[in-house]
Symmetry: C2
Subunit: 433 residues, 2 copies
């Protein structure tokens, strides 16, 4: 017979209490307990015992016969959202509708406004544990491949990669902005003698993108590495890294994935042990054969990417693939052109379920070519002279990639909105809580 | 006989080249190689062999007889700073002075201006590898204690903990600021059902502090956890966490520590297996007995902290200790008062080598007490009503702490300036590179 003290919210111990009441617990205690609001925090003292009959509606094997109950912190009786409502699946709503019942739906905005309650749903508890595992595995894999974890500044002078989508502020009277990516600084670390580096940190985009997949602040998983012979070395790291993340989630996070699946049903991600690599030209050709014409030197739009994802899935049975050798014109100025045809570039995107999640490339490592490409792209070279100078101090060939943590989790679990995988999301309309 | 291809900077292969020249390598190649600037990146093809005589001035056991050398990327001949100069210790300067030589000193600002070169010194390579290890161990230890890694937003509305030292900006037209700590959001995660959380991420302070230990942006290591019975549970986590970090560094990072020691000699950190805990009153008493009078309900200044560090070291033979039960008046409004005497608080600071590195406490978890304390501290309660409301939805007793990654590394290695442990530091004067 084991005596235990458990801290719980009231809602999780209510059924146990009733059972104990049957077993002869004082009616005074039951009255006290049932008067407590559901989300109050209580300490329950009791005896662990095997139930006479198997417990219904639970997977627990034991019950606790309550002896004492203390209220540690009372919750208000009526919460702005009801946890049961927030935890329902579409199937629950359909079932209720068939039965003529009307259930309360908790909208995305209401959830986010009361995130401290919404986070308590089983699926949210699972989603953010999965997110933590993705980050752990990202770090663990790269550390095992001799990458060094670094931190680069988020406050920078000027604009990080040019462009308008940048948050501006004043830094002690100087114009400054928030980094749109750690790109320049991770390249500087590379030139500083760190052969392989990675960073996990916030990335800021002042874009007015109101989509299911854009945030104004997200967690970037970035890596940069020396290239010895070919930029496929970077693709190989991505291949090994993501296959190991997917395997880890599938093998070790079953409970969490099942929990998410109950509220938001999804098909498991299909991936190959050795990740499929297609050229951009092959991708365009596949789309063409399926009736979608793409400007051969242009970029794919979201719709074409979705369609390509379906075609690749049909042909190769995978939801995860790398597309490489993009037209140079659609990549940033610092992207290395292909040596055999400078209309193309040593670059790639990676897709999960038809959505781009990773962008990467070999970077130009000589000041001459960098100056030439910047000029061709219409960039005023004088504004990036300190960046270009770095490559005149001795710079190894290198490349890297960046990926958003929230997107990885969203697409692995086939969730329909990136706000579900950001604990406190920031979009053009939302700056709270 | 092994054939190898090595990518190196020219400076690291020069001595090998000379040796190979003696062994009959073409003078044409030697001429080509010696004309290359020092920091140029080269590929060296050669044969690994045992030297006839032990190699001087190196710990290597083998040499490479160079067959071919390719220049991958040329560096400019005269760099803004010379790596040899940047790598010298004080002892080197003293020795040179005695010999009547004048060596070039590279100042802190020059180093930081050309950080991509400066990072190549052996001690900088070691410092940032140590930093990575501290973060790894921080995560590993907390994950093993069932903490979940989370990410909270850095863009927030209003000011994060009040006060003036905040970077302000416009977020899509709304007034916003950069988070001065993840305090409120990690508490929200706690109330959201995550029993133990941690975060590694940037922290922004717009303070005009030009000291050896302040930065405007640093990497915060933060944790927050449910408290079951007493806030010492938080201190116990810190004890276990930091002792395991120190042990790991001492046992596994010997090479890096020795490298740092060569340029910046330091005494190894003294710490106990079970971390010493003193009350604030005991600390004040120790200072008083040593002739320093402290206002008993005030705070310690930097000088008093230094002195206390020396006294504790003399008496207890440790550079690392926890001081707890601070006067309530010197802690933030959300700090839990002591139950037995509300003039004190359930709070603590942690010191390394006489400098505060960690601040932590139990937080108030009821809206009533939080409202009362905010009012007593002169805070307009209406401005923090959403924060207070969170605790009315069901909130467990909890506490936590925060520590700066750069400070841990600086103080473990007894470095004299926090700019040495930030890869690209941000202070009131510095926003580049």
């Amino acid at each position: 017979m084991a005596f235990v003290v458990l801290r719980q919210s009231m809602s999780t111990v209510q059924c146990v209490l009733v059972a104990s009441a049957d077993a002869g617990v004082s009616t005074q205690m039951v009255r006290f307990a049932t008067a407590l609001s559901k989300e109050s925090i209580v300490d329950v003292e009791g005896v662990v015992s095997l139930p006479k009959e198997p417990l219904k509606a639970t997977t627990q094997q034991v019950e606790i016969q309550v002896r004492k109950i203390y209220c540690i912190n009372r919750a208000i009786p009526t919460l702005p959202i009801n946890l049961e409502d927030a935890a329902r699946s579409e199937a629950d709503f359909e079932k209720a509708e068939l039965a003529g019942e009307k259930l309360v739906r908790v909208g995305q905005d209401t959830r986010l406004n009361y995130r401290a309650i919404d986070l308590r749903t089983p699926s949210n508890q699972a989603i953010f544990r999965i997110q933590c595992q993705v980050e752990n595995k990202f770090r663990e894999f790269l550390l095992s491949k001799d990458f060094v974890g670094i931190h680069t500044p988020k406050l920078i002078s000027g604009s990080s990669e040019g462009g308008a989508a940048v948050f501006k502020l004043l830094y002690n009277g100087q114009p400054a902005c928030l980094a749109q990516s750690p790109q320049l600084h991770k390249q500087m670390a590379l030139c500083g003698g760190f052969e392989r580096v990675f960073e996990v940190g916030p990335v800021f985009r002042a874009e007015n993108s109101n989509t299911h997949r854009h945030l104004c602040e997200f967690v970037g998983l970035d890596a940069e590495m020396e290239i010895k012979e070919h930029y496929f070395e970077v693709c190989d790291i991505i291949d090994g890294l993501f296959v190991s993340i997917f395997k880890h989630l599938t093998e070790n996070c079953n409970k969490e994935l099942e929990t998410i699946n109950r509220q938001y049903p999804f098909e498991p991600l299909k991936y190959l042990d050795k990740t499929l690599k297609l050229t951009y030209e092959e991708g365009v050709q596949m789309l063409k054969e399926a009736g979608t014409e793409i400007e051969p030197m242009g970029d794919l739009n979201t719709e074409a990417e979705k369609k390509l994802g379906r075609l690749v899935r049909e042909k190769y049975d995978t939801d995860f693939f790398i597309m490489y050798r993009y037209p140079l014109a659609v990549r940033p100025f610092y992207t290395m052109p292909c040596y055999d045809n400078p209309a193309y570039s040593n670059s790639f995107d990676v897709f999960i379920r038809g959505e781009e999640i990773i962008s990467g490339a070999q970077r130009i490592h000589t000041p001459e070519l960098l100056t030439k490409r910047a000029t061709e792209c219409g960039i005023d070279v004088s504004t990036i002279s300190t960046y270009i100078e770095v490559f005149s101090y001795g710079a190894p060939p290198h490349g890297g990639f960046g990926v958003g943590l929230e997107r990885v989790v969203m697409l692995f679990c086939a969730l329909n909105n990136i706000r579900k995988t950001s604990m406190f999301p920031r979009d053009p309309q939302r700056l709270v809580p």
